[in-house]
Amino acid sequence: MPLSRISKKCLAASLVLFFANAGRGAADDELFREGAAAYRASDYAKAAKAYCECASRQPASGTLQNLGIAQWQCGAVGPAVLAWEQSLWLKPFERPARDNLRFARKSAQLDAPDLAWYEVVSSWFPSGWWAWIAGLSSGLAISMAMLPGILRLRKSGWHQAVAALALMVFLLSVPAQLGALTRSRIGFVLQKDTPLRLTPTAEAQTVVRLPAGKAARYERERGNYVLIRTTPDGVRGWLTREQFGLICSKPCNQ
């Protein structure tokens, strides 16, 4: 039977994919344990390397949190702040990452990024959740408004109530989605005493020197330089790519 042959092939392909993923997950777990062991042995550089590799394979909130701790112990303030921000980006309910950011900002005398109200709202849930909330609420609102007529059901009060509620949720989720979009352009200075240049050239005049972990908003890029505006003080200038890490960039990509 051709159908049964196709089914067998599909089953085999699924099994291969499943075991490949399982193998990758096992390797990630091994790296995670290796990082924890190195950290407990006070080999922070090795721990940071292991967590870095683990996070670059598959970003995870706990891995990024541990990566930040290991990098902080290595004295890398900028990458540590970025890792904790990425951990919160993935899982806003990660209390230790939030506390670590408070600790780092107090220790290094850094300001938290200045967020607009819709960006604050967007930080309540992961960005993907807002997409689901918006999609489901809009679908529910339209369905509740139209399906009774299509299905030739009698329109009742609860249909309209659910439709109104879903519409309200949808309208609230729209600014949050905008906030997630604008928040994804926030990044952090990775190296200490980074010169913020007036023009995207190596010989450019230095506007100000930025501390590691300083928050800034990405505006555009030219060649190997990115134009940023620091937050909350709003100083504008150019940095090289490796001196700046976006919150939504691949971990340890710099």
């Binding site: 990630d28 777990d29 995670f32 924890a36 950290y39 683990c54 598959q58 970003p59 995870a60 909130s61 706990g62 891995t63 949190q65 541990n66 701790i69 902080w72 990425q86 951990s87 980006w89 993935l90 899982k91 990660e94 230790p96 990452a97 506390d99 670590n100 408070r102 600790f103 107090k106 992961p126 960005s127 993907g128 807002w130 997409a131 918006a134 999609g135 489901l136 809009s138 679908g139 339209i142 369905s143 139209m146 399906l147 007529g149 299509i150 989605q177 997630a180 979009l181 994804s184 919150i247 939504c248 960039s249 691949k250 971990p251």
Partner: protein
């Protein structure tokens, strides 16, 4: 002005004089002097020499091979203005290391004259005559010549050769812990038979330590030196290492040499008694001493350790009053004494603990010498406590190399009856007090937590707008379908015609297939069926109920029309053959219909056109 011109000028002069009077009065009034300006003006001026002179010498000028001598260069200029070279050439080459450098002012007829000295530590391994030739140094932006100086190195210098004046640096301990205050003294013994000299601007040079300026003392004392008792100047202070590892320290100071006039005699205390001239300053330094600072052990650290090191003793714990009311403020003071010789000026009070039923605030710490007083303000929040809360405190004992608990004990208290209500509910955990807790670095996460394939938000993906619109699009499509459905319900003939068209095409294809296969009965049956299904929606009627007359009527051909009409004849012939095949006992010859296929196609085309709206 059109008045009298004779009066105009006297009036103008009067007006000007009236205006200038207040200004003259203000000028004549004695102004109150600015105290800061007065203080500045009262200071003697610093003499900036127009003619900078450098003096170079070796101290001592005659040494044995390997013995250290100090190459000393003195300028009558400010230290900041001298650009001292990093390397100094000599012939033959001497082993030369940078030593002390400093600046001192001495008074000269109402003016302060700066004197800057640069020392270099010099050693020669072989006997010989060593010369540092003349070289130029920039002072005040101008070149100043440093005169040549000679060092003689001989195997056996004569006993009458002058010995170098040198300081000695003595530490009470050379292996302290980081943070432990170490007492030290700088000793400057008098030369044999010479009067004792004092030191000015004594300082310790090196990295990785801080010097407690508040604990410095200086005195003259007789000390035992090379087997004989000599008067000496002694400067005492304490030093605290702030980093682990080897710490190199040396002392320097300006010897205020005394120029005596007349006979010199020594007092029983070793002090000179003579008529003396103005002092002459020469920068002296001690050999370098290396301390090995050990880090504090991490194991065994006790609660309340704030960096205190020494041998501390807890003194009396005093409470302002033992009879309290809920909500009252009460002062608690604790005396801490040092059993050792260290200073407690840098002692930090332990942070107040969070205790249910109490609110504690650290006030100030007063320290003087070997005694410190910690002060706390306590607020009882509930009337059920029997004593004030204990405050954890500990110190590190360097002699025993271990932490020692010195917890401040609670003081018994009683509460006045009928006092205020229990306020401890105001201090529940989770309140603002906890939110303001000092942030600390968390431990490692046990698991990898929530994962994601990428950190890029879905909002920035290309497909995101489509995905967001898809539910609305689906519902819109459903609505359009429903609208169409309702329309068709109101106009059923549209569906009938559409179905009839589909059936007509199906039968038409069947007729063509039968014709091409030479199946004449099948061709005839399919053709008749096609004509019936094409005509049925127009009546409306069941297709099988229609006869040839119905088809002719639809085509506008009366049943009694002339047989010469092609269409009418074709319809009749097809129906006749199929009727005969169904109802007659003798079947008709259907083969004669096969050549009529083109006419049939035209007929069916006409019928199809009638089905189109």
């Amino acid at each position: 002005m059109n008045g009298n011109p004779i009066l105009r000028w006297p009036l103008l002069a009067l007006l000007l004089s009236a205006l200038s009077l207040p200004a003259l009065r203000a000028q004549s009034r004695p102004s109150s002097p600015d105290p800061l300006m007065s203080l500045m003006l009262s200071q003697p001026k610093i003499e900036i020499a127009t003619q900078v002179v450098a003096v170079a010498s070796f101290d001592p000028p005659l040494v044995r091979p390997g013995q250290q001598s100090i190459y000393r260069v003195t300028f009558n200029a400010l230290e900041e203005s001298v650009e001292w070279p990093e390397e100094i050439a000599s012939s033959p080459k001497l082993e030369m290391l940078p030593g002390a450098h400093g600046q001192v002012f001495h008074m000269n007829i109402g003016r302060l004259e700066p004197q800057t000295t640069f020392n270099s530590r010099v050693r020669a391994s072989r006997p010989g005559q060593y010369t540092v030739p003349l070289f130029m140094v920039h002072v005040y932006g101008q070149e100043v010549a440093v005169p040549p100086a000679q060092l003689e190195v001989v195997e056996t210098p004569s006993s009458s050769a002058p010995a170098a004046a040198e300081l000695s640096l003595e530490f009470a301990e050379t292996n302290p812990f980081v943070g432990q205050a170490v007492n030290l003294r700088v000793v400057f013994p008098a030369a044999e038979g010479a009067p004792v000299q004092g030191l000015m601007q004594v300082q310790l040079n090196g990295d990785g330590f801080i010097v407690d300026q508040s604990s410095q003392r200086q005195r003259f004392e007789r000390i035992s030196h090379s087997g004989s008792a000599l008067p000496a100047y002694i400067y005492e202070t304490s030093l605290t290492p702030i980093q682990a590892g080897n710490i190199a320290v040396f002392a320097q100071g300006f010897a205020a040499g005394l120029r005596s006039f007349g006979p010199l005699s020594m007092s029983p205390a070793g002090l000179p008694e003579s008529s003396l001239g103005p002092p002459q300053y020469s920068l002296l330094e001690s050999p370098t001493v290396v301390l090995q600072a050990r880090p504090l052990p991490r194991d065994g650290e006790l609660p309340g350790f704030t960096g205190a090191i020494g041998s501390l003793v807890l003194g009396p714990v005093t409470l302002a009053t033992n009879v309290l009311r809920v909500g009252d403020l009460v002062k608690l003071s604790v005396k801490i004494a040092n059993n050792g010789s260290g200073n407690l000026a840098r002692l930090v009070a332990p942070p107040p603990p969070h205790v249910p039923g109490w609110q504690l605030f650290a006030e100030n710490t007063e320290a003087a010498g070997g005694l410190a007083i910690f002060e706390y303000t306590l607020v009882p929040l509930a009337p059920n406590a029997r004593a004030t809360p204990a405050i954890p405190f500990s110190y590190f004992d360097p002699k025993r190399s271990q932490y020692v608990d010195l917890t401040i004990p609670g003081v018994p208290v009683t509460f006045q009856p009928g006092a205020a209500a229990d306020l401890s509910a105001l201090m529940q955990p989770g309140s603002a007090d906890e939110a303001e807790k000092e942030p600390v670095l968390s431990g490692l996460a046990a698991g990898s937590g929530w994962t994601s394939s990428s950190l890029t938000p879905v909002q920035r993906r290309v497909w995101f707008p489509l995905a967001q619109l898809s539910p609305a699009a689906a519902v819109l499509a459903l609505w359009l379908w429903d609208r169409r459905r309702r329309y068709l319900e109101q106009h059923p003939e549209i569906l009938l015609r559409r179905r009839a068209r589909r059936a007509l095409r199906r039968e038409w294809r069947a007729a063509r297939r039968a014709a091409s296969a030479g199946d004449a009965p099948g061709f005839a049956a399919a053709a008749v069926s096609a004509m019936r299904v094409a005509c049925a929606p127009h009546y409306p009627a069941e297709p099988r109920a229609l006869v040839g007359g119905d088809v002719l009527q639809l085509l506008g051909l009366p049943d009694n029309s002339q047989p010469s009409n092609g269409s009418s004849q074709i319809v009749r012939r097809f129906f006749a053959v199929t009727d005969a095949a169904r109802f007659a006992t003798v079947s008709a010859d259907a083969a004669q219909l096969l050549p009529l296929q083109p006419e049939l196609d035209r007929l069916l085309q006409q019928l199809e056109e009638k089905l189109c709206p």
